[in-house]
């Protein structure tokens, strides 16, 4: 296999863990075994403690709007170590965890903050790599 094909294969595998379809916090809380199915067919389970933590952070009206898992997007255009959180409710949750002011539907976070976020929400967040 040529080097180019190997690189393309590696790049195509980068986001294979992403879910086919995200589920809302409300559905996840209702489910006995909250999980999503990844693009490669495997199952990604959410920890109930994390779902309960998210539920405590948001008013009940927002449970339907919060889609899980929350994506931590690494965009090459933003530079190394910078990640983006997109979505109103997602920004609200992440800014509460990081104790950072989040305005609008986009929040930029940096590597130490990514570590804090992953520490608090290991199953309800996922990395997303954008080629730019």
């Amino acid at each position: 296999m040529s080097v180019d094909r190997l690189i393309k294969l590696e790049l195509s595998k980068l986001n294979i863990h992403l879910p086919k379809q995200r589920i809302s916090l409300k559905d996840a809380l209702r489910s006995a075994e909250p999980h999503v199915t990844a693009r490669d067919g495997s199952v990604h389970a959410f920890k109930r403690e994390e779902l309960e933590l998210l539920a405590k952070m948001l008013p009940e009206t927002d449970w339907e709007k919060l889609q899980l898992p929350i994506f931590i997007s690494f965009d090459l255009k933003l530079g190394r170590g910078t990640a983006k959180i997109a979505g109103d409710i997602e920004v609200k949750v992440v800014s509460q965890i990081l104790r950072k002011e989040g305005i609008g539907d986009e929040l930029l976070i940096y590597r130490p903050e990514v570590a804090i976020l992953r520490k608090n929400l290991p199953t309800t967040t996922q990395y997303f790599f954008m080629a730019g």
């Binding site: 980068l14 495997s42 990604h44 170590g81 990514v114 996922q126």
Partner: protein
């Protein structure tokens, strides 16, 4: 490099390949950084879990020693053979950048004296105490097992990613750049040759005229 045709088409193709390799390098570097974050977080949790598990295990063995002293070794061993050895472990998975790591959930490790299965008439309460301590330790050990397996899987993927990033950084991209440089220089050289050839032809024509 000697096999490369020094043409403009080849130069364009190589520039595209460099761009792809650079993109691959940047994305894999991001992945490597994210894996390092995950790995260190898991290591921190393993450290905490190990301390907790070892403390609990030492408390359990202390309770077992008391049990041996009070009930006697043979009776304790006999009771342990009678005890039920089933544990309901719910194994699911979670993803960390394509790496499937296990998630273990144990339903009620701590049991009542009746549920353990040994006779409560012929045993002492110190056996219950020792059993309870071991059940607590088992819960912590299951948690530790999940973390250690996750760390192993992440470390393996990290090693693979690091190898790929280094191959791109130190071998593939520099080789491609060197080839581009060679072709560019060769094309410049050919242009200079053409220029001097044309000048020479012009001089010959002028001399004839």
């Amino acid at each position: 490099m000697a096999m490369v045709a020094p043409t403009r088409m080849e130069l364009l193709k190589l520039k595209q390949r460099i761009s792809l390799a650079q993109r691959g390098y940047d994305l894999l570097t991001e992945k490597k950084d994210a894996l390092i974050i995950e790995f260190f977080e898991i290591l921190r949790r393993i450290k905490e879990a190990r301390v907790g598990a070892f403390e609990q295990l030492s408390a359990s063995y202390r309770a077992l020693s008391t049990c041996f002293a009070v009930m006697g070794t043979i009776e304790t061993r006999q009771a342990s053979k009678e005890a039920k050895r089933e544990l309901q472990v719910d194994v699911s998975t979670r993803h960390v950048m394509g790496i499937v790591v296990p998630t273990l959930r144990v339903e009620k490790v701590e049991r009542t004296a009746l549920a353990r299965g040994y006779s409560i008439h012929t045993t002492s309460s110190v056996l219950d105490e020792a059993s309870r301590e071991f059940e607590k330790a088992l819960e912590l050990l299951v948690e530790l097992a999940e973390l250690e397996e996750s760390a192993r899987a992440i470390a393996k993927e990290l090693e693979k990613t690091k190898r790929r990033v280094n191959a791109l950084d130190y071998i593939i991209i520099p080789r491609l750049r060197a080839t581009v440089k060679f072709i560019a220089m060769r094309l410049d050289e050919m242009e200079r040759e053409n220029f001097s050839r044309l000048k020479r032809i012009k001089a010959i024509f002028e001399a004839r005229a």
